[in-house]
Amino acid sequence: MAVLAKELTAELRGRVALNAVGLFGLTTLIAVAYQIGPYRIADADRPHLLAALLWIILYFAAASGLPRVFVKEEDARTAKTLRLAARPGAVFTGKFLFNVILLAALEAFLVPLYCALMSYGIAGIGPFTLLLACGAVALAATSTIVAAIISRATGSGTLFAILSVPLVLPLLVFLIQGTRAASASAGLAEVLPALRAVTSLAGVTLVTSAFIFPVVWHE
C-alpha cells in the first residue's frame, strides 16, 4: 500500500504518465475519428470495426505509458533502494494497482469521447462498464509484469511491444467480442462469456506474476 501511495503522489506531482497516456490516446482517437468518423463505415461493418478500434486505441495508449512504472525506477537509479526497502509482493501490488488506476482514468476519459465522436451506441452500459473495469485489471496485470521483465533488459520501448503483444492478443479478442455484444444488446448474458474469459485471464496472469515477479525483481 505504501508503494501505491508513493506512486500516486509521485504521479500527481509530475503527471508524466497520465500526460503521456492521455495525450497518446487522444491523438490516436482524433486521428481515427477525423479520418473515419461516424459516417464512413458501412452499417454492416460498424459493430466489428468500432469495437476493434476502441481497444486498439486503448491498448496503444496503455503501451505508451504503463511500462513506465518500472522503467523509471531503473532510469532514476532508485530501483536498488526499492529492492531493499520493500518486499517484492508489495512492490508488484503497488505498481499494478497504480497501472489499474491509470488505465481506469484513461478509459473514463477516452471511451465516452470515442462513443461520441464515432456515434458508437452502447445498448448495455452496465455490462460494458463491467467489461471496461475487468479489461483494465487484465491489461494492467499483463503490462505490469511484462514491464518488470523488460526493465531488467537493455531494451527500448519496442521490447515491451514485442513481449506483450502475444500475451495481450487473446485478451483483446475477448474484449472486442464483449464490446460488440454489449453494443448490440442491453443484457448481461451476452457479455458474460467475454467477461468470464477476461476475468480468468486476469486471475491467471496475477497468480503467475505472484510466482515469477520475485525472480524477475531480484535478478
Binding site: I149, L159, I162, L163, P170, V173, T205, E219
Partner: protein, 226 residues
C-alpha cells in the same frame, strides 16, 4: 547394446519410418471427403508440425521451471533448444496451413481462431528470443526468459481452447475432432498417427543434438574458468 549403437539404430529407424510415412501419405492413404482434390494430404504434415510446435512449448516450460528451481545452466540450454525448434515448427505449421487455406478457400489467410493461435505461438517464440538477445548477463537472461516462458504458457490455452469453443471456426472439424468419434477413414488415421510419431521422433533427435552440444560447450567453459 552400447548407447551410441542404440542411438544410431534408432536414427536409422526414424529415417526409414518417415520415408515410409512420406510415401504412404501420397500413395496409400485416401483423400478426405469434402476437400479439394489431393489437398487433404497436407494434413499428414501440417498437423504433426503444429503438434511439435506445442510439444516444444511444453518442453520449454518444464525446462524453464527446472531452471528457476535449480539454476542449472543446462536447463536454460534445454529451454532455448526447445524454443528454437518450436519456432521452426510453428513457422512450418503456419506456412502449410496457409497453403492449404489457399487451395481450399482461395485466400492465404482467414483469421480463423486456430490459425491465429499458431501465429501467436510463433510470436511468443519470437518474443522469447528477442528477450534473450536483449540481455547480456547469462544468469539474468536465463531467469527472465524462463519467467516469460511461464507467463506465455499460462496465457496460451485461452486462445487455443476457449475461443474456438465459443466462436465459429473454419478449421475442418473432422481432423481436430477430439471426441473419439472416428470420422476419418482408418488408413488416413494410421498415416496421420505414423506421421505424428515420426515428427515427434524428429523433434526428439534434433532437440537431443542441441542439448548435447550445449553440454559440451558448458563443460568447456567450466574448464576454462578453472
Amino acid at each position: 547394446m552400447t548407447k551410441p549403437r542404440l542411438r544410431t539404430t534408432a536414427q536409422w529407424l526414424l529415417g526409414i519410418w518417415l520415408l515410409v510415412v512420406a510415401i504412404a501419405a501420397f500413395h496409400w492413404a485416401p483423400t478426405a471427403r469434402g476437400f479439394k482434390g489431393e489437398s487433404s494430404r497436407i494434413v499428414f504434415f501440417h498437423v504433426p508440425q503444429a503438434w511439435v510446435a506445442v510439444l516444444a512449448f511444453c518442453v520449454n516450460l518444464v525446462a524453464s521451471l527446472r531452471y528457476l528451481r535449480g539454476r542449472d545452466p543446462l536447463d536454460d540450454a534445454r529451454a532455448a533448444a526447445a524454443a528454437r525448434l518450436g519456432l521452426v515448427f510453428s513457422v512450418l505449421a503456419t506456412i502449410t496451413g496457409s497453403l492449404f487455406a489457399h487451395v481450399m478457400w482461395g485466400s492465404f489467410w482467414n483469421w480463423d481462431p486456430r490459425e491465429v493461435s499458431i501465429v501467436i505461438l510463433l510470436l511468443i517464440y519470437a518474443a522469447y528470443f528477442a528477450l534473450r538477445e536483449a540481455i547480456t548477463d547469462d544468469e539474468r537472461r536465463a531467469s527472465l526468459a524462463a519467467a516469460y516462458a511461464i507467463l506465455a504458457f499460462v496465457t496460451m490455452p485461452f486462445l487455443i481452447f476457449i475461443v474456438p469453443r465459443i466462436y465459429f471456426s473454419l478449421h475442418p472439424d473432422t481432423l481436430i475432432n477430439t471426441r473419439g468419434a472416428m470420422d476419418m477413414e482408418s488408413r488416413m488415421f494410421q498415416v496421420l498417427m505414423g506421421s505424428l510419431v515420426g515428427f515427434t521422433g524428429l523433434f526428439s533427435w534434433l532437440y537431443t543434438l542441441d542439448v548435447r552440444l550445449a553440454k559440451i560447450r558448458l563443460a568447456r567453459r567450466r574448464r576454462e574458468e578453472v
